[in-house]
């Protein structure tokens, strides 16, 4: 009898000690109100009304806490950027729309070409372009091979103008999607500089 008792005891003891948390369980939160902000926060959204941590904005579409900027908003820092010497160039980006075809828009790169800018452009190219367009712009990136239709910069796209490259990054072209939401205006012009070096390699 005693043996049974001890066996049961030790089994339950081992069971207690060997418990582990499931990966689905975030665990106990200390002061949960600190983890679930009731103020509007990006990247969290509790939409059920009556929930203790309800933090959605009912005035936004789908009760989102983040919103896209109103159309035609001009970023104030674009006016103050050192690169922009004249207001015409300053506003260039806002003047082209998706409907303007790449070739019909003519603009010059407001950022002066320099070694440093090309190096920066190369870094940005590595982040945003390389997986499709490939390291040397041949269209042979890992994604590009599967995606298809990626041009060779030094081939079919050799004569593409800088404004056309800028337009393509912003609004996309043929199969390529619009990347304007990911890359800011100045960075796009830096990428243009680097793409031009790849065109002429």
């Amino acid at each position: 009898m005693k043996i049974v008792k001890y066996t049961l005891l030790s089994i339950s003891f081992i069971g207690l000690v060997s418990c582990t948390k499931s990966v689905e369980d975030p665990g106990t939160e200390y002061a949960p109100a600190m983890y679930h902000s009731r103020a509007y926060e990006p990247l969290t959204q509790v939409t059920e009304e009556g929930n203790d941590y309800y933090n959605s904005n009912p005035n936004n579409p789908y009760k989102m806490n983040m919103r896209a900027l109103p159309k035609n908003t001009i970023k104030i820092s674009h006016f103050n950027a050192n690169y922009y010497k004249n207001p015409e160039a300053d506003l260039f980006f806002y003047k082209i729309s998706k409907d303007s075809t790449g070739a019909s828009v003519i603009a010059t790169n407001p950022i002066p070409k320099s070694e440093a800018v090309i190096a920066e452009g190369k870094e940005l190219y590595g982040r945003y372009c390389q997986h499709c367009h490939g390291e040397t712009g041949k269209g042979d990136g890992e994604v590009g091979k599967v995606f298809g239709g990626v041009p060779n910069y030094a081939g079919a796209a050799k004569d593409r103008s800088e404004s056309s490259i800028f337009y393509t990054i912003t609004y996309g072209r043929n199969r390529m999607g619009a990347h304007g939401s990911q890359i800011n205006v100045l960075d796009r012009w830096k990428i243009v500089h680097y793409v031009q070096t790849l065109q002429n390699q």
Binding site: Y128, V146, G149, N152
Partner: protein, 411 residues
């Protein structure tokens, strides 16, 4: 007589006909080659540089598949089309008009006025050569890149488990051999020498052992120690979500996207260098690739719906710092130049994303104690560095410029 001649003639004519068909065949193929075929090797280079971005031989991409083009169209039609498609459409050519209508969404094909007639013939030669080959399922003709897979720890666990089983089996075997031997000796007790008698009397007195203070103390120590450790562990894990890997609404694999396809973290997590949050990509970023890749996959249905309606996908949040602590991604990634993997672990090997670091205060502080500030090329640190170097010969670490101050993160 006549019969013989007739037969001779018949033979002769047959032979002639045979020869004729033979030559005709050769002539025709020679003529064929003259008309359409150029140099496929030169054509391949031209095709890759000019056409491959929109055309594939076997499948429709931006423009139509070129397989069988020479059967559908004559070279006399193809040359002006390649040089100036808009002009051919404007001339009212019915085939060109139909093409333009079928591929309306792609727009009119770019004219390649710089290509010479021979260049276009070379390209056609390449297409003709290529169309006899079987299509490559990969799409772009590249080989599938291989991913290095880290060895799974389950293997080690199995080996250890195996050892334990083997050792247990050995123990049982030894004990049973001992008891059999003991029984055998007991049967022949009479023949035992005097000094070996103790073997029979050697019986462990369990009762004395279990009732001894030492034994009881040891057991009590072990039980209390283990219970204490379990309790402490679970207390420490409060507010610590290390290893949390919830199921997400879409089975997105970082291993595939960041590992195999080498897409940079910044491509999707666009906020990481400019703001507090790294950001979860919006569906338009997914659709930059998935407009073409796996565009009918049911797993991507939620992405397509989100893209169409603008209703965001509700991912399950994994990393969540409490509001009492302030953390800014751009400070760490852009200014300090840390790799994402420093805190997020080998994300490029994770099938399901999980919290890698404990994200506790001790963990933050420890890194601030050890990390040297990346001050070169950053004017903000110039004066701080000068002052630091006046009083210390050690490199300037985060702790030296207030990285341990409470109010740096709690305010």
């Amino acid at each position: 007589m006549f019969l013989n001649r007739y037969k001779t003639f018949k033979r002769l004519s047959l032979v002639t006909a045979l020869f004729l068909s033979f030559f005709a065949h050769f002539y025709a193929s020679a003529e064929d080659a003259k008309a359409a075929i150029g140099d496929p090797a030169k054509g391949k280079e031209l095709f890759d540089n000019n056409c491959a971005s929109c055309h594939n031989v076997h499948k429709v991409m931006v423009g139509p598949a070129l397989k069988g083009i020479l059967e559908r169209r004559k070279i006399e039609w193809i040359i002006p089309w390649v040089k100036n498609p808009a002009k051919v459409i404007a001339s009212g050519d019915p085939y060109a008009k139909k093409l333009a209508a079928d591929f309306q969404s792609a727009g009119v094909m770019t004219g390649f006025g710089a290509l010479k007639d021979d260049d276009i013939k070379n390209i056609m030669a390449y297409v003709k050569e290529e169309e006899t080959k079987t299509p490559d399922n990969g799409g772009g003709g590249g080989t599938t890149p291989k991913v290095e897979v880290k060895q799974d720890t389950t293997f080690v666990n199995w080996v250890l488990g195996g050892f334990i089983v083997v050792l247990l089996a050995m123990l049982v075997a030894l004990l049973s051999v001992m008891s059999i031997l003991r029984k055998y000796i007991a049967q022949n007790a009479a023949s035992l020498a005097e000094e070996d008698k103790y073997i029979l009397e050697d019986k462990t007195d369990w009762k004395t052992i279990t009732s001894s203070t030492g034994f009881r103390f040891t057991v009590a120590f072990l039980v209390i120690g283990l219970i204490g450790k379990t309790t402490l562990d679970s207390l420490v894990s409060i507010g610590m979500q290390q290893g949390y890997a919830p199921e997400q609404p879409i089975p997105f694999s970082h291993k595939l996207h960041a590992g195999k396809y080498k897409i940079d973290c910044n491509y999707c997590h666009t906020g990481v260098r400019i703001g507090k949050h790294a950001n979860i990509p919006s569906s338009n970023i997914c659709m930059n690739c998935h407009s073409q890749i796996k565009k009918d996959s049911p797993k991507l249905e939620k992405v397509r719906t989100a893209y169409k309606t603008g209703k965001p996908i509700e991912w399950v949040r994994v990393h969540n710092l409490p509001d009492l602590a302030y953390f800014n991604h751009s400070q760490h990634v852009k200014v300090a130049g840390l790799e994402c993997q420093k805190c997020h672990g080998p994300v490029q090997e994770m099938e399901v994303i999980q919290q890698y670091a404990p994200l506790t205060m001790g963990w933050c502080i420890n890194c601030h104690r050890e990390t040297v500030v990346k001050a070169e090329g950053n004017k903000y640190y110039d004066n701080l560095l000068k002052l630091h170097n006046q009083v210390s010969s050690d490199p300037m670490k985060v702790k030296d410029i207030g990285g341990l101050e409470c109010s740096k993160c709690h305010y």
